[in-house]
Amino acid sequence: MADSSTIMGLHQEEEHHPELLHHFAEAGQQRDAASLGMWVFLATEVMFFGGMFCAYLVYRHWYFGDFGAASKSIDATLGATNTAVLICSSLTVVLAVWAAQTARRALLIGMLVFTMLFGLAFLGIKSKEYYDKFEEHHVPGASFNFDHVPVPGHPGEYANPRHAEIFFSLYFVMTGLHALHMIIGLGIFTGLLVMAWKGRFTPEYHTPVEIGGLYWHFVDIVWIYLFPLLYLIDRHP
């Protein structure tokens, strides 16, 4: 990989890589700055979702039965499928990074495309779920209806619709913001795809792929928590 400066053949200077910004001393510094920047940004994202997890925790503690009932009304199989889809996309992302590191341009492009396809699949399944909720009048608001839904494990008892509505409020806000992050992720990956297509990445310079990947994995991790917390509260018969 040492002789890779010829691969894409943009510039030949050893000293000053074209992507090196003027205020950095050397490429390593620039890459480390970008990656630290992304990590720090992800830390703020954790706190952003953290506020919602906090609200979730409080109401789940208060209204456990109603949350169980509401959770049971969403399709856990779709949720599990989506989890699997995201995990696969995480794999393709990490392969893309590897491809960029090892100068495999075709693999890189392929993996980026796969990642985006998985991302789209995720959003597709998600919209199906939203659509079902809409049909069932489980979207908070005037037409919300959750009458006579039994509480799991408490025969003969019905969930309180107001409390179920809080569950669905949180469900939509949390998954909605997660989906928004997915959409932003797709935007980022489109950009990466274009750059990869133009052959801008080299083993020396592929920081965008790396930090884009970090972002994608983070969004995956959020979902890893959302899935059990929203879909699997009190499933057993």
């Binding site: 390593g28 990590w39 925790l57 599990a80 995990i87 794999l91 928590y225 059990p228």
Partner: protein, 98 residues
């Protein structure tokens, strides 16, 4: 994040992690349908945390991060998140009513 050149190809590791993640997803999904009382939540959260750790350590390369700094960032933010959750719940769990 650097210095992969000398290391052997990480592909095997990536696929292993991927398989583990899928397996864990399957387990959470199945276990949720078994009556375990309060342990349903515990199992679900433990597995989720395992999965998140796997993704962070291997896919996001925290394990191989050249620097301690990244680990500090990750550990730090988890700490502050837990602060938010526990100190808030400290109120809710000790309120006499609602």
């Amino acid at each position: 994040m650097t210095g992969h050149e000398s290391a052997k190809s990480p592909l095997k590791m990536y696929f292993a992690v991927w398989a583990a993640l899928l397996m864990f997803t399957f387990i959470t999904y199945k276990v949720a349908f078994i009556e375990l009382g309060p342990f349903n939540a515990v199992v679900a959260l433990v597995i989720a945390t395992l999965k998140a750790t796997l993704v962070a350590l291997f896919f996001m390369h925290v394990w191989h991060a050249g620097e301690r700094l990244i680990k500090v960032v990750v550990g730090g933010v988890v700490f502050f998140l837990l602060l938010l959750l526990t100190l808030t719940m400290a109120d809710y769990l000790t309120r006499p009513w609602s």
